[in-house]
Amino acid sequence: MAFTGAFTKTNDSATALNAFILTDTSSYAEEAKVTFSDRYFYLYEIDGSTIPEPISGLDYWDFNYTDYPDDTRLVTALTEDVALRIQMFWVSISPQVGSTYVKSTPFDFLDYANQFKYGLVQDMAANRNLVNNKNFMQALDVFQTNIDSSEVSIDEDDPYESQKCIENLQFLMANPNLFY
């Protein structure tokens, strides 16, 4: 049976906002790890630019088998919300017909927006008359709609639309007077 590269992304917001862990979930039953010489991934923004690995400065993020034997890599480079396409490559020294050595998946990162929203909820808990403020509630509704729409866009494999929603969120966060 063929090898099919697979990975998952798990948020690790407790470490840092928008921090995440990539886990290689490929099954190495048919092609053992010793048949691979390297593994790496790219973080693509919607304009095609890449987020480089901060220490090496390289466009790709090293995920080799020697330094990451537990198949996980923590990424803490995102300083704002963003929609990304993550593309991982597995470099086989003996490629097999039918195997897939590239996997590409879109993700959105919304911790900064969620942190902002939680702050609004704290305001509402402290001042329960805020729900009677139409301006506040309408802005909050728009904010939530953009969070939800970003996630739906990712479900539909559309990071471009997701990024548009994130930019709306960033505009609202940069202009809090729209809420009050």
């Binding site: 049976m1 099954s27 039953a29 969620n114 939680y118 909820v121 704290q122 939530q144």
Partner: protein, 191 residues
């Protein structure tokens, strides 16, 4: 320090309450020409997801006391009804011939190959799960968050057989160290 609130419980109740509030608003709007607070369902949703996010970061964050209490206040009259719906999970049926009551419950089994509590060892292909009254055809298997197909020979898959006291899963590829499995099936609980 543990929080004095059961936030996970609040979140579960809030999910149901959001639907109850939406239904209530619809009825009131339809039958009485309007409602005092038409966006309650939406507000519960927004507050609930915000708390869910914060709780995911820090289960002992002290700000959750204020925001959790706020969520509880929003849920208000729906809380008890939502709790009853949650408590009933799966529902109860009456078997007409015998009059006995029975329910249906899920039965997820999760393990990682190589862990001490894993029921399968590296290289195993068969797992017998001893549970009474499983419901035939309700099984599903996930490996590392990916669905494992059933009854296929051209890829990694599994076959399954049922008895009244057990379910037997047989994989056509031996399990590998580090793989995480979730096996699911439903079963009757007969009283």
């Amino acid at each position: 320090m543990a929080l004095p609130l059961n936030i996970p419980n609040y979140l579960e109740v809030a999910k149901i309450s959001s639907f109850l509030a939406a239904n209530d608003q619809n009825n009131v709007a339809k039958n009485q020409g309007g409602t005092i607070y038409p966006n309650l369902s939406r507000l519960i949703y927004i507050v609930r997801t915000a708390i869910e996010w914060q709780y995911g970061i820090d289960t002992e964050d002290l700000t959750l006391i204020d925001t959790g209490n706020y969520l509880k206040a929003l849920i208000g009259k729906y809380a008890s009804q939502a709790a009853r719906i949650l408590g009933g999970g799966g529902g109860i049926f009456i078997n007409p011939p015998s009059g006995s009551l029975f329910g249906i419950i899920g039965n997820p089994i999760e393990f990682t190959i190589g862990n001490a509590n894993s029921p399968m060892a590296v290289g195993d292909t068969t797992l017998v799960v001893a549970r009474n009254n499983p419901i035939i055809g309700t099984d599903s298997v996930y490996r590392d968050n990916t669905v494992v197909q059933r009854d296929l020979s051209d890829r990694a898959s599994y076959t399954v057989s049922y008895t009244t006291i057990s379910v037997t899963f047989v994989f056509n590829v031996p399990v590998v160290f580090g793989e995480a499995y979730q096996l699911n099936f439903l079963r009757y609980t007969i009283n």
